[in-house]
Every structure is written in C-alpha cells, then in structure tokens.
Subunit: 226 residues, 2 copies
DNA sequence: CACATTACTGACTTGACAGTTATTAACTGA
DNA sequence: TCAGTTAATAACTGTCAAGTCAGTAATGTG
C-alpha cells in the first residue's frame, strides 16, 4: 500500500532496481527541471529539493553534478543561451539578399525563437537575476549581448553604406532592436494575465517590425514604393 | 571606548536621549532605506535587519510600521511609482502644440525622470520581482502600465487622425515607446559596467527618439523636408 | 559468484533570517 | 513631578532550506 512506483514497472518485484545509474543523463535532466522551476518561481524561491524531485533524483545527486545552487543557475544560462545564439549565427551566415530582407529575417528568427516557452522564460529569468550574479552578467554580456549586437550592427552598417537605411548609429539601433523584441516576447508570455489589452503574437511582431523598419529605411527607398 | 554615538551629540551625557520618537518620519525613512537596498541587492537577498540599520532603527520598529517584508516592498512601489506618474500626467495636461512635439516632450520627460538614480533603480527592481508578486503585478498594471500606455496612445491617436503620424496601432506603439525608453534607461544605469560599448545618455535618447519618430511620421511630412 | 567501484540516497547539521515579545525609555499633560 | 501612553528596542523563537555525509544499492569485472 505504501509502496508507490512512479511508472509502468510496478509489480515486477524481482528484477526491478529501485533506481538506475545514468550519470550521462542526469546533468541534462537536472538542468531542464531547474530551468522550468526557476523561471516559474524565481531563483530565490525555488528549493533545490523541488528541482531534485522534478528531475527524478534526490537532493544529494544534484550536488554530485553541481557545486551549489548558484553554479546550477550559471550552468543553465551557459548551456541554453549560447545554444540559441549559435543557431541564429548560422542562419545569418547563409543568407543573401538585401539588408532589409536580412534584417527582417533575423528579427523574425529572434521572435519565433522566443515563442518557445522555455526560451522566453530563460530570457526573463536571466534579466531578472542579472544584478544578483555579477560573474554571470559579465559572461552574459561577453558571450551573448555583445555578439548579438555586433551581428545586427553589421547588417545595419551594410544597409547604411548601400543607402537602404538612414545613417543611424548601428550599435545603438542594433541593441534597441534586440531589446525591443525580447522585451515584447516576454511580455506576451508572462504579463498577458495582468493586462486587459491583448495583442496576438503576429500583431505585435508586425507592428514592432514595421515601426522599426520604417524608422530605418531612407526616404529614397520608401518613395520608390509609393 | 565601547560607547559609540552616531552623531554630534556624543558627550552630552545628561540630557541626551538614547533615541527619539519620530513616528511621522519613520515610514519614509524606512521606505527610502529599503528602496536603496532592495534595488542594489534584490529583494530576496536583502535582510530586514540591514534595512533597519540603514534607516537608523531596530528591526522591531520596521514591523511597527509594515506588516511584513512583502508589505514593505509593495509600499515602496505604491509610493514612488504612482508619485512619478502623477507628475507626468500633469505636464501632459498642460501641453499644447503638434502631436509630434507633445510626444517628443513626453519621451523627454520619461527619459529625464529616469536619469534619477532612484527611479531607474525602482523601475528595474519592479520588473525583476513582478513575477514573484502577483498582487503587486496586478496593481502595477492597473495603476501604472495601463494609464501610461493610454496617455501615450491618446497622443498617437490624435497624431494619426490629423495625418502627422502613420496609421499604426496606437496602443501597441505606445507601449513600445514606453518600454524601450525604460529599458534603455535601466541599461544605462546598471549594465554599463558589463558593456564595453558606452553611449552617453544624450546619444541614446537622440538615437532612440529619432528612430521611433521617423518610424511614426508619415511619408508626406518627411517628404516636405527633402 | 565475489568483490571493487561508484551513482545515488535521505537523514542530518547548520546557519540564516522573518517575525514576535517582554521590556524599557521617551514623551505628554494634568 | 509623576502617572499614563506609546515609540522603540534587543534578545528570542521557529522555520526553512542549503549543503554534508555515512551508508546503500546498482553495476562492472575477474
């Protein structure tokens, strides 16, 4: 009665091990569980015992793979964030076409990648906790923020040189574009519940990207269309 | 040797009270201290004993004026945020002129008010902790986000009607404007230290407001300039 | 089947900190 | 000046969660 097995193997008494040794899989499972809980409840309010439970291990096991709660958090960011960025980089490398179409494409990629619940959560989590983890903040800037901005800056610079875009400051505008998209993405996921006014994801992206691109494009090019 | 007085009255043994009763001033002093510490260290990592010390009282006194640590945090937001918003409202009410100049004026106001260290800290703090305080989030949206957006929306709507602005979605763009400014303001104060690339406050404001206004203004008006 | 190895457990220790309370000292005013 | 009132203190309690460790069960090896 008091013996509860979680899964299907619940009456194979003889050859059923009480647990399995899977040192390869544990780290990933723990990281996934931690990301979910941290992003739902915040870092400080999440107990390691909960993380362990969700990952299907005991608390001690968590400490077998991660030095401390802080280290666990840093590992999450290192893993998932850089992963997302690499993906983006690859696609930019392959693209050919006008600066506007490339920029629009990159914006779409950022946006659609943020429709992934997990990534949106992570982005929000990181920005919330950044102030509490100076080491992490340094890493995050060096490995994520600056490379992203440079990527977008480069597109902008090319567009400015060939006259497609107005002569804005590419670094500043690059960062503005990234931040605006990320911010809206996390709003759409988390703050919806408190806001009486809902926009669909498509509406938001169309509105924001139009506003930004209209601001960027030169009068010359826009005159062509009219 | 071991008797330390904090202030000037440090050898007036006879008529020097060990403390004063100042029930009028305590709440404000405690709120100020708490805002400073919360925004420096985050809510969870700040101890009430530190807050008390910084406010020049004992921990017990804090509980004389605030029910709990959570209540203290909510009181901070209720006080400072609504205060800032009222100020903004008044100025909009008085303005006359084109929609563009009014919008630019409002953007300037948001921006300059965020150059105030305390307000920038508060803004960052609120957005970080919002997920952990559903009650507060509801309040913040009802009393701050929605009214702000409505204020800006109204300006945009007028500008669209009289042909100054392109027919964007005013609510969506209104929120985008607010969020972009706030986000940049808090970047300028807190994330500077991690970023190799610095922009001056003026540069940022000029760049961002130009980008947004260029995006808003109709081709017709811009064509006039060329 | 021994026997060594190591992944894993869960009860325990420890420290920290939110919140309480018994007590004291400052003020008030008759 | 001496009650009565209340602002303020500081030592205390209870709880909760991070981190530890001695032991146990799974697995690999000869």
């Amino acid at each position: 009665m008091d013996k509860l097995s979680t899964e299907l193997d619940h009456n194979a008494d003889d050859t059923a091990p009480r647990w399995q040794r899977r040192p390869e899989d544990r780290p990933t499972e723990i990281l996934d569980a931690a990301l979910l809980l941290f992003s739902e409840q915040g870092f400080a309010r999440t107990k390691l015992e909960e993380v362990a439970k969700k990952a299907g291990v005991s608390k001690g096991t968590v400490y077998l793979y991660f030095e401390s709660k802080d280290a666990l958090f840093q590992a999450i960011v290192r893993k998932y964030v850089t992963e997302a960025l690499l993906q983006l980089r690859e696609i930019v490398r392959q693209h050919t076409g006008t600066s506007e179409s490339l920029l629009r494409h990159v914006m779409e990629l950022i946006w659609t990648s943020m429709r992934n619940e997990g990534k949106a959560r992570l982005s929000r989590l990181v920005h919330s906790e950044l102030a509490n983890f100076p080491d992490l903040a340094r890493f995050y800037f060096a490995e994520v923020v600056i490379p992203s901005r440079e990527m977008v800056s480069e597109i902008l610079t090319r567009g400015i040189q060939n006259g497609e875009f107005a002569p804005v400051n590419p670094d500043l505008v690059g960062r503005t574009i990234c931040v605006t998209l990320l911010q809206w993405a996390s709003n759409q996921r988390y703050l919806k519940q408190f806001d009486s006014m809902h926009f669909s994801d498509d509406e938001v992206f169309a509105g924001v990207s139009d506003l930004l691109l209209r601001g960027l494009k030169t009068g010359a090019v826009r005159a062509q269309r009219d």
